[in-house]
C-alpha cells in the first residue's frame, strides 16, 4: 500500500489515455523543432538573443517547453479528481483503507510522471538534435539543472491543476480553473510584472533597464515559470538579474511544498 505502486498504476493509466495522442505530437513539435531551429548556426533571433552553445539552445528552447509541456500538464491533470468525483469512483477509492495523504501523493506522482516522461524523452532526443547540428553537447551540470528545473516546473503545474480539479464540482469549472492558472503564469504574467513595476515607481518604458530587470526578477519568484527560468539561468554567466541563488532555491522549495501540502490537506478533507 505505497504511494509509489499506486502512482505507477495511475501513471500507466494516464500515459495510455486518448489525450496523449494530442499531447505527444504537440510536445514533439515544440521541443524537437525548437531545438532544430535554434541550433541552426545561421539562425538570427529577435531581441538580440545570442545562441552560441548547446546549453544556450536548451535554455532558449525552454520558452517552448513552458508553452507546450505546462499545457500538457494541464491537459493530463485537469480531471484527475473531478472525473472520478462525477462518476462516483472517488467514493470507492476514498472508502479504501489507504491513508488519504498517501493517495494524494500517488495522484501527484502518477500525473506528474505522465507528462514528465514524454518531455524527458523528447529532451534527450533534442540533445542529439543539438549535437547533430552544432557538434556540441551540454555539460553534465547543465543537463542536471535543465532536467531538475523541468521536473519541478511540471510538478508545480500538475499539483496546481490537481488542486483545482479537487476544488471543482464539474468538469467545466475544472478546465476553467486550470486553463486560467496556466494563462496567468504563461501569458499574463508580463502584465502583472508591468503593473507592479509601475506601482513601485519603476519606469516601464524601457524593459531592459536594470531597475525593471531587478523587479521582474523579484516578481518572477512568485510564478512557477519565473522560478523555472531563474533556475535555468544559474549556470549562465552572462545573465544576472540580481536575485540571490538562496532566494531562488527558497522559492523553488516553497513552490514544491506549499501546493503539495494544500493538495494533501484538500484530499484529507474531501467529501465525495
Amino acid at each position: 500500500m505505497s504511494s509509489t505502486n499506486l502512482g505507477l498504476l495511475i501513471f500507466r493509466e494516464r500515459i495510455s489515455a486518448a489525450r496523449m495522442m494530442v499531447i505527444w505530437p504537440l510536445l514533439a513539435i515544440f521541443i524537437l523543432l525548437s531545438s532544430w531551429g535554434l541550433s541552426d548556426p545561421k539562425a538570427s533571433l529577435p531581441a538580440e538573443i545570442v545562441v552560441d552553445s548547446a546549453y544556450d539552445v536548451m535554455f532558449t528552447s525552454t520558452a517552448f517547453i513552458i508553452f507546450s509541456a505546462t499545457l500538457g500538464a494541464v491537459l493530463i491533470s485537469f480531471d484527475g479528481i473531478s472525473r472520478d468525483r462525477i462518476s462516483g469512483v472517488l467514493e470507492v477509492k476514498l472508502s479504501q483503507p489507504m491513508k488519504r495523504s498517501t493517495y494524494a501523493k500517488s495522484l501527484i506522482l502518477g500525473h506528474w510522471g505522465a507528462i514528465f516522461v514524454p518531455v524527458c524523452i523528447l529532451n534527450i532526443i533534442s540533445i542529439f538534435v543539438i549535437w547533430y547540428r552544432m557538434g556540441e553537447l551540454p555539460s553534465i551540470e547543465e543537463l542536471f539543472i535543465h532536467t531538475l528545473g523541468t521536473a519541478l516546473l511540471l510538478l508545480w503545474y500538475t499539483t496546481i491543476q490537481l488542486l483545482s480539479s479537487s476544488l471543482a464540482r464539474d468538469m467545466g469549472s475544472s478546465i476553467a480553473i486550470g486553463i486560467g492558472a496556466w494563462m496567468l503564469f504563461t501569458l499574463l504574467w508580463l502584465i502583472v510584472t508591468t503593473v507592479v513595476a509601475g506601482l513601485s515607481g519603476v519606469g516601464v518604458e524601457n524593459l531592459n533597464s536594470p531597475e525593471y530587470i531587478r523587479i521582474e526578477g523579484i516578481i518572477d519568484l512568485f510564478s512557477p515559470n519565473g522560478v523555472y527560468h531563474h533556475l535555468l539561468e544559474m549556470p549562465l554567466d552572462d545573465i544576472d538579474r540580481g536575485i540571490s541563488p538562496l532566494y531562488i532555491s527558497t522559492a523553488a522549495i516553497a513552490w514544491s511544498i506549499i501546493p503539495i501540502q494544500l493538495f494533501i490537506k484538500r484530499i484529507e478533507r474531501l467529501k465525495p
Binding site: M1, V92, M98, K271, P272
Partner: protein
C-alpha cells in the same frame, strides 16, 4: 447473534453555503442524519428503506468512514478496512481495462487481493481485458460489487445496488448476498422500496428526514403499524407520521430535519 457494529446517537449534518451571511465562506448545517441508533449483527442482512432524501446515502457514507463522525463502537480505521462499500450507480469509464481498474483499487488495500478470483466471483472474468467504456450498467454494478468484496470484509454496505439491474441480474445479485450472509458476512443494503428487500433482508430500518422511524423484522414492523402484508414504504411512513396518503405532495420542507415522532404521528 453477535453485534459486529454498533451505532449510538450518530448525528452528521451536511454543511451548505449560507447565502444569508455576508461572508462568502459561511456555511450552515443542512440535511443529514440525526440520532441514529443501529445494531449490525453478524451474518444478517439489514435493509435501510426510505424515500429520496431520507438520509440513506449519508448514513451509509458515515458507516463506511467517508464522513468523519462519532458514535461507533469501532474506529474509522477499522471500518475502512473491514467494511466493503458499494456506492450507488458508479459510472466506471475510461480506456483502462477492467482488470487494471480493479488492480488500482486493490493497491489501495494493505493486504494482497486476488483480482482474478474477484473477477470470477462477480462474473466479469471473461470481460477482464475489456475497456471500461464498453461495459454495460449491469457490468459496472458488478465492478462496484467486486470493489466491495475486496479484502474479505466483515460487513458489506450497498447503496441501492439493485437500481439499473434487470430482473435476472437482480436475482443473481440477491442470491450472492444470501450466500455471503450464510458465510457470516453482515450486509447493509439501502433501497427506496420495501418490495426490493422483502425476501432478502432479515431486518428493516425505515428512514425519513434523517431519522430512523422504526426498526425490526418486516413482519414485526407491519404488525406494529397495523399494516397489510403487501404494504410498502408509503403506507409505513404514513402510519408512523400520521400523514394521509392523499395528502402527500411534492412540496419539500425548508427544515432539513423534522421532529422525531412516535408511531401515530405524535411528536416526541
Amino acid at each position: 447473534m453477535e453485534p459486529i457494529l454498533n451505532l449510538r446517537n450518530v448525528t452528521w449534518r451536511h454543511k451548505i453555503r449560507d447565502y444569508s451571511s455576508w461572508k462568502p465562506w459561511a456555511k450552515r448545517d443542512g440535511a443529514g442524519i440525526y440520532q441514529i441508533d443501529l445494531e449490525v449483527k453478524s451474518g444478517t442482512i439489514l435493509g435501510i428503506v426510505g424515500p429520496n432524501g431520507a438520509g440513506k446515502t449519508t448514513l451509509i457514507r458515515v458507516i463506511c468512514g467517508l464522513y468523519d463522525c462519532d458514535g461507533f463502537d469501532k474506529p474509522e480505521s477499522y471500518r475502512r478496512k473491514f467494511i466493503g462499500y458499494m456506492p450507488e450507480q458508479v459510472r466506471w469509464e475510461g480506456r483502462t481495462s477492467v482488470r487494471n481498474a480493479l488492480s488500482t483499487i486493490a493497491e489501495m488495500r494493505a493486504s494482497f487481493i486476488d483480482v482474478d478470483k474477484l473477477l470470477e466471483t462477480v462474473g466479469l472474468y471473461s470481460r477482464s481485458e475489456d475497456m471500461m467504456d464498453n461495459l454495460s450498467q449491469g457490468m459496472r454494478q458488478r465492478m462496484s460489487l467486486a470493489c466491495a468484496l475486496m479484502g474479505n470484509p466483515e460487513v458489506i454496505v450497498m447503496d441501492e445496488p439493485l437500481n439499473g439491474l434487470d430482473p435476472l441480474a437482480q436475482r443473481a445479485f440477491t442470491n450472492l448476498m444470501k450466500q455471503l450472509a450464510k458465510k457470516g458476512v453482515s450486509i447493509i443494503i439501502s433501497s427506496h422500496a420495501v418490495s426490493d428487500l422483502e425476501t432478502l433482508a432479515d431486518r428493516i430500518a425505515l428512514m425519513h428526514h434523517g431519522q430512523i422511524l422504526i426498526e425490526g423484522t418486516l413482519s414485526d414492523i407491519r404488525e406494529k403499524l397495523d399494516l397489510e402484508d403487501d404494504s410498502d414504504i408509503v403506507e409505513m411512513i404514513c402510519a408512523v407520521t400520521g400523514i394521509e396518503p392523499d395528502d402527500i405532495t411534492l412540496e419539500v420542507s425548508q427544515e432539513s430535519l423534522l421532529p422525531l415522532r412516535k408511531i401515530g404521528g405524535e411528536e416526541e
